[in-house]
Symmetry: C2
Subunit: 336 residues, 2 copies
Amino acid sequence: MVTLAEVAQHAGVSASTVSYVLSGKRSISATTRQRVERSIRELGYHPNAGARALASSRSNVIALMVPLRTDMYVPVMMEIAIAVATTARTHGYDVLLLTGEEGPDAVRRVAGSGLADGMILMDVELDDERLPLLRESAQPAVLIGLPADTTGLTCVDLDFRATGALCVEHLAGLGHRDVAVIGEAPAVYERHTGFAERTLDGLRSAARETGLRLLHRPCEGGYDATAVTVARILDERPDTTGFVVQNEAAVEPLLALLRQQGRAVPEDVSVVAVCPEQVAVQASVRLTSVSLPAQEMGRHAVEQLVAKLDGRGGDEVVLLPPELTVRASSGPAPVR
Amino acid sequence: MVTLAEVAQHAGVSASTVSYVLSGKRSISATTRQRVERSIRELGYHPNAGARALASSRSNVIALMVPLRTDMYVPVMMEIAIAVATTARTHGYDVLLLTGEEGPDAVRRVAGSGLADGMILMDVELDDERLPLLRESAQPAVLIGLPADTTGLTCVDLDFRATGALCVEHLAGLGHRDVAVIGEAPAVYERHTGFAERTLDGLRSAARETGLRLLHRPCEGGYDATAVTVARILDERPDTTGFVVQNEAAVEPLLALLRQQGRAVPEDVSVVAVCPEQVAVQASVRLTSVSLPAQEMGRHAVEQLVAKLDGRGGDEVVLLPPELTVRASSGPAPVR
DNA sequence: CTCCCCCGTCGAAGCGCTTCGACTGTCTGG
DNA sequence: CCAGACAGTCGAAGCGCTTCGACGGGGGAG
């Protein structure tokens, strides 16, 4: 284990000089800097993270709290996590992975122990129990997702309201008059996950504006549950020609069911999905979709947090604009 | 920020006593312990991680290196990562998330800086470039996946050879004589990812023993690529009545194709998948499958690593036994 | 009754780094 | 030609914790 002192001795300078070379907080002559850098390389020196954290009271670590639940959007979570980790590295931070398991305690532990300089919370619920703690501990934090009350908080999320609107507008523009929404599992709505409700909002208000008839049904996902949901929808609204799906696990079953009933996509029925791009592209029909910009969200979250840690930038809500990509699953409404 | 010294003062004892209460490394009288614990609670004390790491040269952090690539088994990776994080917590460790991006450098950085006490590497390739470094740095580590040379390394993985064998034996037992394997993308085989080759091994040797005819074809996944692969297979071996699929992205397309061709599952054709349980259950036919025990792997990896860090246990290769679950996609071979 | 040992506690010495103040020159402007 | 500014370097004081050796006192063994 090579130490700063050894590097200093090897380079013939004092320890503080080496420290300043490393941090750049004071000017150093070119020759000294080179000598020091050479010694660092030759000795294979790596600063000790603990000592650094102790002396500077900055750990250069960002905590990322991921949900324990794995019933939703797992690949998206993963993609966000990876984006967070790689973006953090470009800013000189490492990422500590916390699971939701510990819940609010994790916030206390991290804030108290100086393990991390700030945290990013994923899967934030409308009235998340971690928020009060976050506010009172003055822990620099960024949320991915949107709680009910955002005062004093920094949040990053997809603009789900606009997403819903975009889907309806797309279908309305193609002449569809009766559209059904296959939503997330009922539990997701009961949990008051913000994004599901905001999407619904957007869908409904756009439907109102375009004079579209909209029917929303939560759906557990999986083949059987989707079959039941679709049957009910078609029973209630036989003229339905457009589907908006916001539930990965219902996408493929829906397509299979339509196929089975002899309804051609997109000739008879159009389908628009809100889902990760991968799902849209890999489905048995290439889906017109609004994708979840996972990487963007991760990147933005880190950048907001780093800005905070540097004393730049304040509380802010960043809503990323949705983008609808037209693929093979949507087309003009059939003429009756 | 409450410190040890403040707790000590509040409790009327010396700092070292508080430290010993916390670590349990020396015996403490019951009354003193209670006084100290009370002070800790009242002041809301949390030990400073940096100081602790510096003084003890143990960070109580485990580094987890996940692949940057997101083309494979993403939910499984996530599940492993979460299992690692939660298991680590039960042993008093936190988890640092490293992406493959930094590659071997990350190993050097973590080992050198004392950021983590040990590491877990996922997605290990047969001749992984991180391995030499790992060996020479004497960094306590556990691999998830199996490299070509395991000397001096601790590894945890599913027994993919047995997995392959299990699939073939299941189909052979049902009377199937011609079985096709739809494998991972060609790139996976070119990359010499161990698990793909070991599965193939198991499949082949079991086929030999049971006198089964086996045809293996890599497949990119997705609807179109799978269609091409399946067409070729049925062209070459029209009598194929069994499929083994080891590629999440080919599962649903395969089922759709079979349905489309009027081949009923499982009456005409049996399908066995090697995939995460979620995929098997959510598919449009509930799939007979060997699932990847993600949680198990994560848990085992952490436990092996913790054992190492405690000076217990040495190098070892743990292969978890596969379990085949019979669901609705496999049945007796049709009589000709 | 004495010796020794162990239990419970304390004080002090670091762990490796950052950072502040101080010092020495060198340069610039008046 | 001198005051002041500034670049470049050093020494020393911690940051909050662990851990080692030491010490007093009570109990068991001889």
